[in-house]
């Protein structure tokens, strides 16, 4: 199940270590996640659900859902999809809510006196070290403004680190460079800036009750701290949408991001034969990446009557013999403890399954690429207004053309401000970082600042000018109108 040869990636695996899984001795690589190590050993069932005892594998692979909770070294409810494997770990399938052993210790120690949590102040705090967050830090940094970038992952780059394909867009904005390499380039840029990167650090809360300060409650290695910032850019990305169908919680039904994490970060094949649900760019691209990892793709299906993604992405998998079935939906997953098959059917113009068109295909993995939802939780906690804009992916924090939310000094950029491409996320991050600098009223070359902002804004209009930009462009226009009318109320 480990990918040994890959056309694009070279996997840097940690040293091989043994660990214990339900009394069995298994091998994995130090530093990879527990869930990835188990998957590489063929283990799909990580827990049994709390009421019905249904088998569960992982789903999101980024610590957002609860599918992968296991008991590790006696501690229940450990998110194994983000917890690194260490030698000698005792990993157990968790049944129900888990039991806290008397001798079990939490990750944190009650050593502090409660007063030692002050991490100081910073002009600009950025949440998320993906394309948008890194760009915000780099561009603010180019104007000499200090920032702290916080990301809950151990490796910065967000989703970029999983992208093996060359990016589209303009040559001036990283087109032709592979996503994984863009991540590396942005991190190198960041090193030249007065910016501090806190990886493996979760933002638990964002408080704005002491203007102009914004307080971020942080947690790393089970230790909490508070960081106060004058301005904040939220570049928190998006979460995978779930699709409800019979047995959709069966191990082997994975989000597209999870499949990418497994195969492109850890070099573990998600399965042998995959059904891809969703023919937008993500479904098509991940379908191609599966083929690159020598995994068979049985079909790509989509309930829409046309392919949502770029033709060139569709053409790449079609010429390798992968059928793309539009106007098709998934009815059920089958299998006892893991996916063994999927039943699909045609849908009519009202998206209702057409009777008699059902067919069952043998697959061991069902990959869901059915859209993303912006992560606006922190903005919501901070009291930012939100709007429901379907073109942007659902509920989004209201923001103006500078990406500033209804709370002055809190900006939102990238997928968190509306689902788009990584190329637009980088430009939005840039714009938000520069707008935050403007809001800070620090001494900077104002003309230069405005010219840089204008460049980012016109780059965004250019990328959204084509037919595939219609949806986000309309969404952004609606958002601006809604935000403006709200602003009038205040």
């Amino acid at each position: 199940m480990r990918i040994r040869e890959h056309p694009i990636l070279e996997f840097e695996r940690g040293r091989e270590v043994e660990f214990d899984f339900d009394g069995r001795r298994l091998c994995g690589h130090e530093g990879e996640t527990i869930a990835a190590a188990l998957h590489a050993s063929g283990v799909r069932v990580l827990r049994k659900s709390i009421r019905h005892g249904r088998p569960r594998g992982f789903f999101c692979a980024i610590g957002r859902c609860s599918s992968c909770l296991m008991t590790v070294d006696g501690v229940p409810n450990v998110m194994t999809c983000v917890t690194p494997l260490r030698r000698g770990m005792k990993v157990e399938t968790q049944t129900g809510k888990g039991t806290l052993a008397a001798e079990a210790k939490g990750a944190g120690s009650i050593a502090g006196d409660g007063s030692g949590s002050d991490l100081g102040t910073v002009p600009l705090a950025i949440v998320g070290a993906g394309p948008a967050g890194l760009s915000a830090a780099v561009y603010a940094g180019r104007l000499g403004v200090e920032s702290v970038v916080v990301d809950e992952n151990e490796v910065p780059g967000g989703q970029l680190i999983k992208q093996t394909h060359m990016f589209f867009g303009s040559l001036e904005h990283y087109a032709r460079v592979r996503g994984v390499d863009i991540g590396t380039q942005l991190c190198r840029e960041l090193e030249k800036c007065p910016s501090k990167l806190l990886t493996g650090t979760t933002v638990l809360g964002l408080y704005t009750d002491d203007p102009p300060w914004k307080t971020l409650s942080l947690m790393k290695n089970g230790v909490r701290g508070e960081l106060r910032a004058r301005t904040v850019v939220l570049a928190t990305g998006a979460s995978e949408n779930m699709l409800a169908f019979e047995n959709c919680d069966l191990p082997g039904v994975y989000g597209a991001g999870a499949v990418q994490t497994l195969m492109n970060v850890y070099g573990v094949a998600p399965g042998e034969r995959v059904l891809m649900v969703g023919a937008g760019n993500i479904g098509l691209i991940v379908g191609y990446q599966l083929l690159q990892a020598a995994v068979d793709v049985a079909a790509v299906i989509d309930a829409m009557d046309e392919i949502g993604g770029y033709h060139v992405h569709a053409a790449k998998i079609r010429r390798m013999g992968v059928p793309i079935l539009t106007s098709h939906t998934i009815l059920s997953a089958g299998g006892t403890d893991r996916v063994e098959r999927a039943t699909i059917s045609r849908v009519d113009s009202d998206w209702q399954p057409v009777e008699g068109t059902e067919r069952t295909i043998d697959v061991d993995t069902i990959c869901l690429a059915v859209g993303l939802t912006p992560n606006c939780e922190l903005a919501s906690m901070a009291g930012c207004d939100d709007e429901y804009v379907p073109e942007l992916g659902g509920l989004v924090s209201a923001h103006d053309a500078d990406l500033e939310t209804s709370v002055p000094g809190v900006f939102i950029a990238g997928d968190a401000s509306g689902i788009e491409e990584a190329s637009t996320a980088m430009l939005e991050g840039r714009l938000a970082g520069l707008a935050a600098v403007e809001r800070l009223e620090v001494e900077v070359d104002r003309e230069k600042l405005l010219a840089m902002k204008e460049e980012a804004a016109s780059g965004l209009s250019e990328l959204r000018a084509g037919p595939f930009g219609d949806r986000p462009r309309l969404g952004k226009e609606r958002m601006l109108a809604l935000a403006a009318s709200r602003g009038g109320d205040r």
């Binding site: 859902c65 502090g112 030692g116 991490l119 701290g225 959709c248 429901y388 379907p390």
Partner: protein
């Protein structure tokens, strides 16, 4: 959709249970959250909220855009009680200890 399809994975709540709740008068995500616990588990509704909003919309006829999502409160991730009780870095050094990124 079949009644036994699991919608909320954390609390193991099925489609049928949610539909019954909505038909029984629980027509907001907040009510469903309090009675059925959808959104109270470790994922805090990240996996199921969208699905529940759709079910409410489909059962009540209220457009999806008008069904409110549940309120978000800190902490954004499950945190052990010990971590909460412990406060911050023991030495109180803003740039020191575990937070030193250099």
């Amino acid at each position: 959709m079949k009644e036994d399809v699991v919608i909320c994975r954390c609390e193991d709540i099925t489609y049928g249970e949610i539909v019954d709740a909505v038909r029984g008068g629980l027509t907001t995500t907040e009510e469903i959250k309090r009675i059925l616990r959808c959104g109270m588990g470790p994922c805090q509704g990240r996996t199921c909220s969208r699905l529940i909003v759709r079910i409410i919309s489909q059962e009540t006829g209220v457009p999806v855009a008008e069904v409110r999502f549940p309120v978000v409160r800190p902490p954004s991730r499950p945190v052990e009680i010990g971590v909460m009780a412990a406060g911050g870095p023991p030495d109180g050094n803003p740039s020191g200890g575990e937070y030193d990124a250099d």
